[in-house]
Amino acid sequence: MEAAVKEYTYKDFTSDQEVRWCPGCDDYVILRSMQKALPEMGVKKEDVVFISGIGCSSRFPYYMDTYGMHSIHGRAPAIATGVKLTNPDLSVWVITGDGDSMAIGGNHFIHVLRRNIDLNIVLFNNEIYGLTKGQFSPTSLVGQKTKSSPYGNTQPPFLAGELAIGAQARFFGRISGNTPKEMTQMFIDAEKFKGTSLIEVLQNCPIFNDGAYSKYTDKAVREDRMLFVEHGKPMIFGKERNKGLVLNGLKLEVATLGENGITEADILVHDAKEKDPTLHQMLVRLEYPMVTGIIRAFDDVTLEEREDALTAQVKSDSSYKKTDDLFFSGDIYNVF
């Protein structure tokens, strides 16, 4: 099947609609990264479907020259589930934001992850409501001043990854909104992963929450403040590549290579494929360094695989081929 896929460029996935996000928004980076990733995925253009909810992020499908639906607030995972169950050959993407997925759509978000249907979710997390002009979101920080919390937010935030892994997410990746190359690759990896993939983009909103992530993502500090993990590699970071994660009891700690006899062999090697999510949760929760990359990618049976197997079994066991076989079976009687 892959042989039949045309050679595409990003232009094949760019629609004729004018992009209407604010200048300087990371959403542009995500859009272009996706348009560049799709030609690398080996999927046919007509098999790609983007489903979004409501919010700035959710305008995304209009800008992609693929099948798409800009639906209603929070419901994209449920709609995408229907699309995928109907046609498992499609490459189905959910585009959502922090409010869309974790406030109004929280129930669909956790259940789609629990079911592990093979679709990809890109979560634009800017820790604010943008389209409604600046209210706090479920990922806004305590004390954050917004239009709806002028004296500071009193609601503690969700960590998207912690919630997702708690809801049994098999694939969780986190990526900074200003690293298009890594983001492109992560989209490709998500598509190749069989099961629900969740990618959280740390997306800067230049209008209502500018600089929310700058203490991690600014070019000047990025290498020292962030750790990009890769499966099978030691978790080392820093400009000098001399910091690494070690486990001390039940806590992760940062150790410096060359100090206290620490060598690379002492640094934890990242295992994204481990079923037990304990360490993945610890990586998600870490504040220093902020961990990005594919934190968890555990292979598991998908919902559609279970459904397909069950349907095949029932079909082969059943004598009903047409509805007539059912309607005229059992307790029927004739009137003459």
């Binding site: 629609s15 007509e46 639906s71 229907g82 029927i332």
Partner: protein, 618 residues
């Protein structure tokens, strides 16, 4: 069948109404179902009505734990489960207390005297034993120690515990009733053999008890005569007994097969709609896909996704669920995709009366969405025609590319009646608007000139990539448009699309009279009650009363005003405080409408209808 010769002293009657009542663990639903199935297979027309508490196992012996099953059988046409009963079978004091009022004076009540213990009498709030205090003197009481006799019948059967023994006493009652009405035990014994295939002892026990009841009735001097009800004159054909919800599910199966689409159901459990889900989930052999979703909204949302991807998509619910689905229903209307929503109505508002019937979601179905968002609304009117209207809902949504809301209600959904089986080959064609190949001028909102249906471009089809969404669409390209004139144009075209469905639905044909002094108007699940009442009057010489029953609510049949105009008075009868009458007033404003409304969670009482209609023509 052998049954007719088994009993020689039968009195011939046209119809009989029997009610089996007992504790919710006494197996009354099974007893009633067996009696109605057996009667149907004998050739009677049948209508049934289960009436059970919302609690699964209410405290034993309590008044609110009484479970009942009413069955109306006849050699004549039967349209309802009936009101007052000819025979009451009461397995305990609570059942007697809560149902005696429905027994016609002078008629028979069979009681299990073993259950009339001091404790059970107290639980039923009887101060004295009704079997002893003379309070039943207006009835013929048949006192049977059913528990004792059941134990006696099984005394030689080893290894059965006491619980299993007492549990089969319902079959003793059934055996008695079978004898009284000259029914064969064959069907029920077959049923035991299938149901308890792996438990031969249970088969033997139930068969023994059923036979014991049958012979007890035969030899008992206390039953001086028995009744015979001849087979009804029904249209020749192959029949089965079907429940409304099952018929709804099967209508969708048939529509999927006919249309060549696969069926997708997204649903969340809710009384009284859940058994549509239970039914459809069984039929994976036809490729049916079901998703028990995390909530009502996900139920409809997954169906919208399935529809976008090319399935015949449906979602099923009841009133509170419909409220939750409203926003998504608006989306389906906006993006103009096929979708059927089934609302099995129950008593509202809020949680209301979940196990009782009502017709109070009509206005919610019509208008319960933001913005101007008309959809097609149709209603089934009998358990069996739930099949036809489910099929019709699927046909209309596929052919007109707009959502269809199918209303049924708890009464017809749980009631059962004979269904003359329809083969898919007899059903009308279903044409779809699927587009397979793009032309140079193709747009997603290109419309069919007659129906105004837009085309259905399904993901996976090359060169038809497009975006849909809840934002207003440009009339041609389908792209987002905030142009003021375009919004007005699109609002009107969505309404016009629904209006034009009038050209594709049958006209309304009144029954009993085309013109006269009074037109009785109803819609949905009240067909049986209203039809029976008007028929009774007609047989009594009231040939000036007509009856028009509506299955198409939005749009109304084209000739509605024409039919109404032929009558001096019009009375609109509904199980709500007047909702369809509002729809009629909007669409047919030149008429004065009288109303007859009941809001008690129960079907119309026949005598009240008859009296009301009589009073309007005298």
């Amino acid at each position: 069948m052998v049954a007719a010769t088994e009993n020689k002293k039968q009195k011939v009657i046209d119809a009989v109404i029997i009610r089996f009542v007992g504790d919710s663990g006494d197996g009354m639903q099974l007893t009633g179902t067996q009696f109605s199935d057996t009667s149907a297979m004998f050739g009677n027309d049948v209508s049934t009505f289960p009436n059970y508490p919302a609690e699964i196992r209410a405290p034993q012996g309590s008044l609110y734990g009484v479970s009942g099953f009413q069955v109306h059988i006849g050699s004549v046409e039967i349209n309802t489960p009936g009101d007052d009963v000819d025979l009451l079978v009461a397995m305990n004091p609570a059942g007697l207390k809560t149902n005696l009022h429905a027994l016609k004076p002078g008629h028979t009540v069979i009681v299990d005297t073993d259950s009339f213990t001091k404790k059970n009498l107290e639980k039923a709030l009887y101060e004295t034993n009704p079997l002893e205090d003379g309070s039943l003197e207006n009835y013929r009481v048949i006192e049977v120690g059913m528990t004792t006799l059941t134990k006696e019948a099984l005394k030689d059967l080893k290894g059965l515990d006491n619980k299993a023994i007492t549990r089969s006493k319902n079959m003793f009652a059934l055996g008695m009733v079978y004898w009284m009405y000259g029914r064969s035990r064959e069907h029920t014994i077959d049923f035991f053999n299938k149901k308890f295939k792996k438990k031969p002892q249970i088969i033997e026990a139930n068969t023994k008890v059923l036979n014991a009841g049958f012979y007890f009735a035969e030899t008992l001097e206390l039953i001086p005569n028995a009744y015979s009800i001849a087979p009804a004159k029904m249209e020749p054909g192959t029949y089965r007994i079907i429940m409304g919800n099952q018929a709804t599910a099967w209508g969708f199966l048939a529509a999927a097969e006919k249309s060549g689409l696969e069926l997708f159901l997204g649903s969340y459990p809710i009384t009284p709609a859940s058994n549509i889900l239970h039914e459809l989930v069984k039929h994976k052999h036809f490729g049916v896909k079901t998703l028990q979703a995390e909530d009502e909204i996900a139920g409809i949302s997954s169906a919208i996704g399935a529809s976008f991807a090319g399935d015949l998509a449906i979602t099923t619910t009841s009133g509170p669920g419909l409220a939750l689905k409203a926003e998504a229903l608006g989306l389906a209307m906006m993006i103009e995709l096929p979708l059927v929503i089934v609302d099995v109505q129950r008593g509202g508002p809020s949680t209301g009366l979940p196990t009782k019937t009502e017709q109070s979601d009509l206005l919610q179905a019509m208008y319960g969405r933001n913005g101007e968002s008309p959809i097609i609304v149709i209603a089934a009117s009998t358990p069996a025609n739930c099949f036809n209207y489910a099929y019709e809902a699927a046909k209309l949504t596929i052919e007109h590319m707009t959502p269809v809301l199918l209303l049924t209600d708890g009464y017809i959904a749980n009631g059962s009646a004979p269904w003359k089986i329809k083969s898919v080959s007899q059903m009308p064609e279903i044409k779809n608007h699927i587009i397979k190949k793009a032309t140079d001028t193709w747009h997603p909102y290109d419309r069919d000139n007659d129906t105004l249906a837009r085309n259905w471009a399904i993901p996976g089809t090359p060169d038809l990539e497009h975006r849909v969404g809840g934002l207003e669409k440009d009339r041609v390209s389908g792209n987002v448009s905030y142009v003021p004139e375009n919004h007005e144009y699109m609002t009107k075209i969505r309404a016009e699309k629904v209006k034009r469905v009038q050209n594709y639905i049958p006209e309304i044909v009144p029954e009993f009279a085309d013109e006269g002094d009074l037109l009785v108007v109803g819609w949905g699940g009240t067909y049986g009650s209203l039809h029976s009442a008007v028929k009774e009057l007609h047989e009594d010489g009231y040939d000036n009363i007509g009856f028009a029953h509506f299955n198409y609510i939005n749009p109304l049949p084209k000739n509605t005003s024409e039919v109404l105009r032929k009558f001096k008075k019009i009375i609109v009868c509904e199980l709500n405080s007047g909702q369809f009458v509002k729809v009629l007033k909007i669409n047919c404003s030149e008429f004065d409408f009288l109303q007859f409304n009941k809001i008690q969670g129960l079907p119309f009482p026949n005598n009240e209808l008859v009296e009301k209609f009589k009073s309007l023509v005298q």
